[in-house]
Every structure is written in C-alpha cells, then in structure tokens.
Symmetry: C2
Subunit: 676 residues, 2 copies
C-alpha cells in the first residue's frame, strides 16, 4: 500500500505513548477478518462487532463477522486475562499494536487495553490512492492519568439516553474512561428512586431515567471501558428534591422546580436528623444501583441564605459552636461522607468539601483550579481537575489543551503528592445546551482534553493537535454524533428554507461566528433566559470554536509573515472577505420571512461591515498605499463596535483579531507597508 504523504502525522488522537512507523500499510478490503485469541468474554465479542460496524461505516466495505480462526485473521487480538468485575480506578489499560503489510496484531493484558487498541486501529484506517489501508506501525501505549472523565449535566436540560450513549461512543473513541452523570439540580431530579418516588415524579417534569435505563447505560459504558460515577448534588443545588420532599429543606416551602439559571437559596437542613435518615436510605438505594466505587456528593455553591433565615438552624449552630455556614456545610458534608462510606463507596465532591480534617479517602473535583488540587494533595487527598475543562464556556480546543492537571501549583508537588492527582474531567453544564446541540458543545474540543489526559505530558504541539482533531471530528460522525450535522437542520429551521442552497449565506454567517464565551450569555440577553427559552436561535446553531475562523486567522498570519506579498495567500483571504462582506445583503430576503433570521441581522451586518474594512486594508496592502494613523484608529474602534453589535444576540466574531492585524499591517506604521 502506498501512503501519499507518509511524513504527515498519523491520524491518532490521543497520541499513543509510543508510535514507530513502518514501511507501507495493510490493505482493508472485503477480505478483512478479525479474530480474538487468549482470554475471551462476551464483552470482547461485542467490541469486535462494534469494531467491524465502525470499520464498515468508515470505509463502506462489507465485512464478515469476527472469525474463529485467529491464525488466519487480518487483525488478531490477544487478551491475556479478564479485568475487574467492576471497573476500578487505576486498572491496567495498556496495549501494543503492530500493523504490517501482511497483518496486524493487538495485544493487551485485559479487555480495557484491548478496547483502547481497537480504537487506535480504527483511527489508523484511511483512504489512499490504492484503496482503504492502515499504515504500518508499532505502538506501545498506556494512559498518563487514570481518571479521564466527561461530566454531563442532564438536569438543567434533560439529555435523552440515546444522546448519552452516542457521547459514550465518542468517549470510547478518544479513550476517556469516566462518565460523571450529574443527575440532580435545582432544575431537575433525573434518576428514578423507588424508595422516594416523589424525587423523580415531582422533580423532573416526567423527564428522568428509570432504574432499568440506568442499568442499561452502566452496561453500555462498561462495554466501552467507561466507569459511571453518579452525582447527587447536596446540600445546595437541590430545589428539585424539595418539590416532593419539602421536609428536607431548610426553608418552609412549598418548592417548585426551578426554571431560572443561577445559584439559589434552597438547601438541605443539615441540623435535622430526618435529613440524614432520608439520605442514608437514598444513598443506600443509589449505591446499589451504581456499581462504581465512587459516589459524587456535589457540595458546591451553597449561599447559606435559607440557613441564616431559619431560627432552628441558627440555634443549632450556636449550641454546637459552629461559627459560620462554611463550618455548617463541613458538618453536613462529614455526615454525608459517613453515609456514603457506610454504603461502601468512596465520596467525591467539589472543592467546597475540602476542609481541614476531611478524611484522606475523599476525592476532590476542582472547579477552582490546580491551586486547590495542590492544597488537597498536600493534605493527602486525591483530586481531579475540571477547572479549564468547562466545555460550556466555549473556549478554544487550544486553551483546554494548554490546561494540565500537573501544570501550575501542582507542578511543584512532590512525586508522591503528584500521584494523588488522578486526572481530570471535562464538564458540560446545560443551561444553554439541549439534546439537539449538546454534541456540538462537547465535540470535537473534548478530544483535545482527552489527549491531554492520556498522552505523555510533552504532547503539546497545538497545530498537530488541530490537524488530528479535525480528522477525529470526522470519524466521530460515524458514531452518530451530531456535532457537525446538527447545524444544517437548525439553519434550515431558522431560515424557513426548503432546500439547502436557499440558506448558503446563513450557513456562511453561522460558520464564521461563535457563541459568547464564559458566562456572558445571560448578561447580554434582553430577557432573563429560563429552561423554557427555546434554544433555536443563531447563537445555538454556531460552533463553540469556528473551524472557518481558525483557518482564516492562520492564513492571515501566514500572509503577514510573508510580508503581505504572497498572492497565493492573498487570494483565499480576499475571497473569504468578499463572501463575508456580502452576507448581510444576501440575508435580507430571508430576514423578511423569518423572525430568527431578522434577529441575526445585527450580527450579519457586523460581520459584513467588518469584513469590508478588512478588505479595504487588504486593498491598501496590495496597492502599497498606507492607511493613515487616524483612519487606522477609527477602524479599530469600529471593530469593537461590531463585536458589541454581535454580542447583542449573544454572538461573537472570532475573525476580528485577524481583521485588526490586517488593518494594522496596512497602516503607515504597519510592518508590511514599511517594508515596501
């Protein structure tokens, strides 16, 4: 097999610990066979079926079911022994994979390594001038961190089981091994409780997972080498519990499911023994339902207002000499940790549960940062990092990629303390995310985080990461993930269009924009959003990180580095700017018939006008006639105005820095003009 560009990086994500390339490659055609040797179990057979289905999807080739004949198979998979009956933190996950022109061999100690190796093989398969093939490689691989998680908030917006499943498929593809299921919140209690049925009956609008569905998902995850850690957030973030069980709360009720976003007052009553009786029974039920060793008790963001307002609680604090609400929460937390431990589980919680004297077994999940993790490690507590991995903030993959659990203050821990840093978890909080958009808010950026947590620490080449992430984004589509495909149907809806060509300009617009970063969306909204607010606007249809903008900015950088002289770089920049500059006019007919397109017109005019300014700068650069300082200043101020204009509908124009660079370059003091 010939590989056209064998010097290109291999399409592997996360990058394995060690890869060596060989000569040529292994042809993948209808004769391809798979066989298992060594230790066998039904999970491996299912993995084989899934592998073949995925290979068929990637190539379109008809493949036969896995064969019994290990010797003659194209890919022989040897597994030494079984893995733990309930997957454990820190279990062996290594594998070796050898691909040669005549066959491939995958070897792993246990099924976890086998699952990872099968994914590596699938990633290697590519189209070539001679057909589909996998390049010859020798790979030895194991993860850097043992806890590589994704947390999904299914409470603020309910996420149906099948959407979770395809995201677990995505996790398997990038070798993540913990699904953290954020199951309760002010806005929804999503797990069926048979002991306390009013939890899900009255706290979920009917949108919850039955215990059968939960067991099904846990099995599904186990099949993919993924542990499932449930979270029941307490004592705050718990309004939905109180709709059916107001007696748990510190206020007087009645309570209704919260529809707004933010931090709210309701909190469990930490002073009433009834609370612990209830939680003991509840945690017991859930501890039996969820086999994983870890049990997440939340613990974040208690504002203490209900505690302060309740005379009984004030009296309790006084009698026990509890000086403030932090101490009161520590008391609650300690009691709940005891209950979790009584049910043979290890508690994990957010930063807030780390207080002096907390048991060493407890794991801290840090939304605050590596400083908090370092502090925990110094106290002897294990920790995982989530700060820097919040996918809903809309950061670039590069920014997530630069976040390392052992970067910052954790870098100076002792070797022994570093062992306590277990890894990290990306998080998707779902205020502005629903079943239709969630894939696009998780993928493909999550694969950059997955690589950070799996690959060696020195795997830090951002441009290589992006090349491989683009390829992985394509592969993830074969798993049914909708991070790319969601956009077309959403834009069709926004445009009221009946055929794709009708909304080309709207697509150009959407692909150029991103949603606002961090927590600014709420601030800039005209009316306060709630869980009833439709997520059907342009802002919901754009990517968190625009591929088009990323490529455009790269082009501009290359153009400027080449002294603004390379016509091969100038041409695509100009073509793109011309396209953007006409979008606004092109959208007018659609805006006449759709309120959602009309709403987007402030963003479209901002993009078109700013692109026209950039185009003027490009003209000036081409003519070699500099723009005056005054004009330059005016233009740069204008860019800020355009950004504000886009912000009105919670959008941002990620091209503006590149536009500004062109404008600056075209100014009298600009690098390119000066060099004429």
């Amino acid at each position: 097999m010939s590989f056209a560009q064998s010097t290109e990086p291999l399409n592997l994500m996360p990058l394995p610990a060690k890869v060596e390339r060989g000569d040529g490659g292994l042809k993948i055609d209808a004769g391809f066979t798979l066989a298992f040797a060594g230790y066998r179990e039904a999970r491996l057979d299912r993995a084989g079926q899934r592998f073949l289905r995925q290979l068929r999807r990637q190539t379109g080739i008809v493949l036969l079911p896995a064969s019994k004949n290990a010797g003659a198979a194209t890919l022989t998979v040897t597994t030494d022994h079984e893995s733990k009956p309930v997957q454990e933190l820190g279990e062996e996950e290594s594998y070796t994979l050898d691909v040669t022109p005549v066959g491939a061999k995958l070897h792993a100690a246990n099924p976890l390594g086998t699952l990872h190796g099968l994914q590596t093989f699938l990633q290697l398969v590519a189209i070539t001038p001679d057909g589909f093939a996998a390049p010859a490689v020798h790979t030895e691989d194991q993860p850097r961190f043992s806890w590589r998680g994704l947390m999904i908030d299914v409470s603020r917006h309910f996420i149906p089981l099948e959407v979770l499943k395809r995201n677990l498929d995505g996790m398997e593809a990038v070798k993540m091994n913990v699904f953290h299921w954020h199951l309760s919140e002010n806005q929804g209690f999503r797990a069926e409780s048979r002991k306390f049925p009013r939890l899900h009956e009255q706290g979920s609008d009917g949108l919850y997972y039955t215990q059968e569905e939960i067991r099904d998902l846990i099995e599904y995850a186990r099949d993919r080498g993924i542990r499932v850690v449930p979270e029941f957030d307490m004592p705050g973030h718990s309004t939905a519990w109180f709709v059916g069980y107001p007696e748990l709360a510190s206020g007087s009720g009645p309570y209704a499911i919260e529809r707004k976003w933010g931090v709210f007052d309701p909190a469990m009553d930490p002073t009433d023994e009834k609370t612990y009786k209830f939680l003991n029974d509840f945690i017991g039920e859930m501890a039996r339902l969820f086999p994983d060793q870890f049990f997440h008790i939340g613990g974040d963001e208690v504002n203490g207002k209900e505690w302060d307002a309740n005379p009984k609680i004030r009296a309790f604090k006084k009698s026990r000499k509890i000086k403030d609400n932090v101490e009161l929460q520590a008391y609650f937390s300690g009691r709940v940790q005891e209950l979790v431990t009584r049910h043979k589980k290890t508690p994990i919680g957010w930063d807030e549960i780390l207080v002096p004297g907390v048991p060493k077994t407890i794991v801290i999940q840090s939304w605050r940062g590596t400083e908090a993790l370092a502090a925990a490690a110094k106290m002897g507590n294990r920790g995982i990092l989530s700060n820097g991995y919040y996918l809903d903030l809309g950061w670039s993959a590069a920014r997530h990629y630069a976040t390392d659990p052992l970067g910052g203050p954790t870098a100076s821990l002792t070797a022994e303390q570093k062992q306590l840093i277990l890894g990290g978890e990306s998080c998707i909080w779902s205020e502005y995310v629903n079943a239709e958009t969630i894939d696009s808010r998780i993928w493909p950026r999550n694969s950059a985080i997955a690589e950070r947590l799996w690959s060696p620490a020195n795997t830090t080449d951002v441009s290589s990461m992006y090349v491989r992430m683009d390829t992985e984004a394509t592969r993830l589509e074969w798993l049914g993930l909708m991070h790319r495909s969601f956009q077309r149907t959403m834009l069709q809806r926004i445009a009221g269009a009946s055929f794709p060509g009708e909304f080309d300009a709207l697509r150009e617009l959407a692909q150029a924009l991103e949603h606002q970063k961090d927590y600014t969306r709420e601030e800039s909204a005209a009316t306060q959003p709630t869980s009833f607010t439709p997520l059907n606007r342009l802002v919901d249809s754009v990517q968190s990180e625009s591929d088009v903008s990323r490529r455009f900015s790269l082009l501009v950088e290359q153009y400027l580095s080449a002294n603004c002289k390379d016509p091969a770089l100038e041409a695509p920049i100009r073509a793109q700017l011309v396209k953007w500059s006409t979008i606004d006019a092109q959208l007018r007919p659609l805006a006449q018939r759709s309120h959602l397109v009309r709403e987007a017109s402030s963003a479209s005019s901002a993009l078109s006008e700013s692109a026209r300014n950039a185009l003027d700068a490009l003209d000036a650069l081409q003519r070699g006639a500099p723009v005056s300082d005054e004009e330059e200043k005016k233009q740069i101020v204008a860019l800020q105005t355009f950004e504000k204009q886009a912000n009105k509908t919670q959008l941002t124009i990620p091209e503006l820095p590149a536009f500004q660079k062109l404008i600056e370059a075209a100014s009298a003091g600009g690098a390119c003009i000066a060099s004429e």
Copy 2:
C-alpha cells in the same frame, strides 16, 4: 399572525381533498397545548407525544405534554370512536381540520383520521416574520385510494429495523398506509421462523428480524395507521430458503445464498406434496405472526429451468396434462392460495398469479402496468399498481407523479370495475441500496407517489408538487430520515477529508449528477456487482433526482423563454456553469490521495467540459454572434460523448439537455439569435 406570502401554496403534501384559507394564523409558542376529546386510547396518547416531539423539532420550542383540559387547549383533537382492532383495507380515514387565529380543532371518525389530521397540522406550521405559526384553514380530507403502500426489499441488502422505523415515520408523514415487507429472496431470508429455523439461520448471514422485532414493527406501524403486509416470494426468488431446506427445491442442490443479482434458476418443487406440507406449516406460522388480512405470495419471474431439468417434474406435467411452466406455476399458485385461504388470509401476488380461473378474492400487484390491472379488474380481481412506482429505477418525481392507477387502460373501466383498483405501491428493490443509502432512494420522491394515491385525481400541477416536495423533504429530516444528510458523510469518506470545506468541489459534483436510470447500472459496471460490492462510490452518494439540476434546467428554460435577454437569469446560469467548469481541476488534489475520487474523475471531467461548452454558448448568446451549424452539431455530439464518459462509473449528467438547449439557442438557426 402575518403570513409573508399568503398567496403561496400551502406546504401540504399530499394535498387535502379540500382546503380553504382563512385570515391570519395561529401562533405556535411555548404556550401551545394539545388535548384529546371524545374517544381515547393509548395509541392516541402516543400520537400526541409524537406530534409534540415533532412540533418541538420543527420549531425548537419547548412544549408541555398533552393536557387533560380539552376546552382550553390550542389544538383540540376529537375522535368519535375506535378503529378496527386489526387495521382493515378501506377503513374510514377522513378528518376535518380547522385552524383559526385563536385555536385549532381536529375532528375524525376514528384514530386513523386523527393520525392523518395531526400530520396535516404539522405540515402547516412555518416560520413567519412574527414567530412560528400555522395559517388559518378549513380542511376536509379523505384519501382517493384505500391502498397506499411502500414496498421495501430487505432481502438483497438487509435493512435494519431502525431504518425501517424511520421510513414508517416518513410514510405516516405523507399518509401512506401499507408497508409491504419483501422478506425473502434468493439473496436472503429475513424473518425468524420457529417452525423452520434453518430458513433464517442458514439463509440470512445472521441478518434477520426476530419474531419479537417483527411484532414490534407491526405495533410501530399500527401506531402510525399503517398495515404491514409480509411477502414470501414463491416458487422462484427462493434460493435462500433452499440453503437450509434443499428438499423444497426442484434441483438437486446443495444451495448457497445467492450473491449475484438477476433472475435465477432455483424454484420450489410444485409437484411434491412435501412442499405443500411445509408451506402449510410455514404460512400458518407467519399468518399468526402477521395480523394483516393480506398475505403476499410473490409469484414473479420463474424461469422454469429447474423444472425443465427435473425428470420427475416433467413426468408430473405429462401425467396431469400441464402443457407448460406457466400452467405448472398456476397449479402451484392455486395450491398456495388454498393454503393462505385456509389460514384465513387473502392472497396477494405479482402479475404472474393472474391466470384464468383464479379466485376473485385474490389481489394482483402489477409490476407490468395498468393494462394488466385492467385485465384483472375485468376478471373481477382487485389490483394495485406498482409499475411506474419503482423508486430504485431513479426516475424523476414528476415521472412517478404522472403515473395514475386509473390512467391508461384502467381509465376506460366501468365505474364498478374501477372500484377494484385499490391503489398503488412504490417499491424499492435493494440491489444497489443499503442501510446507508436507502432513505435517499425513497425520499423525497416517494412523497409525490403518496400524493398521487391520496389526493384528488386532478391534483396534477407538477411545479406545485415540486415546491411542496422540497418543503416536505426538509420536514422529513426532523423524523431522522437521512435522504439529505447521508451525502455529506459519504463524500467525506470518498474524499478522505477531515473538514467540510475540503470537499466542496466533490459536493458540487455529486449534487450535479444522478445515478444511471432503469437497470443500466449492472450493464455498465466493469465487474459484475454482488452483495459484497461496497456501495461507497460516488454513484452511491448522489441523489436519484438532482435538486440542483432541476433548478438549473428550470432557469435555462426561463432564460430561453425570455429570448435570452434577461441578465437576472443569465447571471445565475453563468455562475453555475463557471462552478461546474472548474470542478475537474479542483478535484485533482483529492484524486491524488483517494482511489474513489480518482474513479469519479471521468464524470467530473465530463461535467466540467460540457459546462465549458455550455458557457461558450452562453457567451455567444450574450455577444449575439451565432455559432455555425457545423460547430453546433459537433458540440451536440460531444454532449453524447460526455454522457457516455459519466456512464462509465454508472453516473449520468442530468444537465446535458439544458446544455444542449443553450447550444441550440446559440446556433445560427437558434431562436434567440434569430430574434436579434
């Protein structure tokens, strides 16, 4: 509510028997509620849930579950009484729907009418300048024909249950009411038989539906007002039966699952009583599994070779004075019909089972045409039309639309005989169709057939049909049908591309082309295709009827009608031609790295070159300088060469007639030049 263009046709497909428009419309927002009155059943509740889910998908609006309070609901649905426990041919299906600015009322005699009315309401909902809304209408509706079917061949390529389900969703959307399940063929036996397990075990490569899955699909269909008619094709098309039960065959075996396409020799032994014993037990089992009144026994395309070769069969014919194989098949057919009738089912079969003396109860499905149907009606037999509705032939929607079960010879039947024409069925035979591509080969063209079978006979405006079909094609995407979305991932695979912008030229190419029509694909293939041949080539990724080509051809017609003088028409024609003319060059880099792009290069160069010729003609028209007759002739011959070039990879260039018109117009004798 304001409707921007209230003179436009309503987005309804099939068009109702009667629609009157009122003023304004009904706003659809988060306050929308649905309630049921009158007769209630669980199926209606599920229909309500499905309706709300679909409305949510179409609009992105969060909607509450159906309410109990009929009086206050936005849409009140009243059903008079139940329908038959097993849906029957000819059951009432009518409904009336009234939408006003303050609310909507749907009324139907039974749940079948209710289901249809809910779909009509969903089709009315559109985006407007003021939000989502349904225009005010008064509708009275019922079908023209009582049998409106879709046949899917799941035997030549297995089609998974979930793919069938989304196609049933599509059928419901366009009010089709019969799913004809073609379950057995030379290439596969797809239904589990507990009596004769070797049928599915040895005849299916493990790709079959369990009885539980079959029951599930039947329930699913019933929920959508759809009957399920199973077909077990006999005595021919039956090789897959003989793998496990060679004793049924007329030859000596052994038999293997057929991998090639075509008509094959194996046929059941009509002379052996063992055959009828087997079929009696088998039909009994299937008659219990499938509740529908009708049972399809196939009966098509027996070549008789195995019969002629078998001395025992020759002797049987002689002793019984059976003069030929047609008579022998009639004998077999009669015996099988008796068995079907014994199991309380009504037999239906292809044309071949219509022989003198056939019982009047038997229904004929005609692949041959309305002539055969007229003959059947004259004999007193009921019939349904499939000739003209074969979706796999790749015809245009317009061509299918022009086919009427009461057109041609059936038009001159007596009124009483016409009653025997029950309707029609579109058919998708799956030689070149698999789970990935089937939606695109059925939809949206099938909605034109659905309209033909539902709407009044005088609903024949093709341009109105296409406008509404385009809109319906968009709505069908919300049901999960992949008739549009399949293309992007297929092209990505073909290109080996990692981001969408990378294969724009390939998409332009794919969207301009169609697969070859009728049964020419096999003839033009370099090697004989089998069921192992991957369906991953450009030909598999194109539409059966190119939307882009349809719009382009329309533009050219308008341009020519306007004496080639309208620059507003000339500009988009030119832009499109320029795009096509450069595709070939743009594809070269991709062809370097992908064998599947390289294979497509004969088609891409044919498209680009022919577009350049059309562009020359356009230039000549613009200049008013005629092209010589000789040159014209040369160019038209060239077009034929280009078509042949595309045919090499089973593709066709549907723009060529429009290109030819431009070339002819630009000639010395051409209309536009002459009029200068």
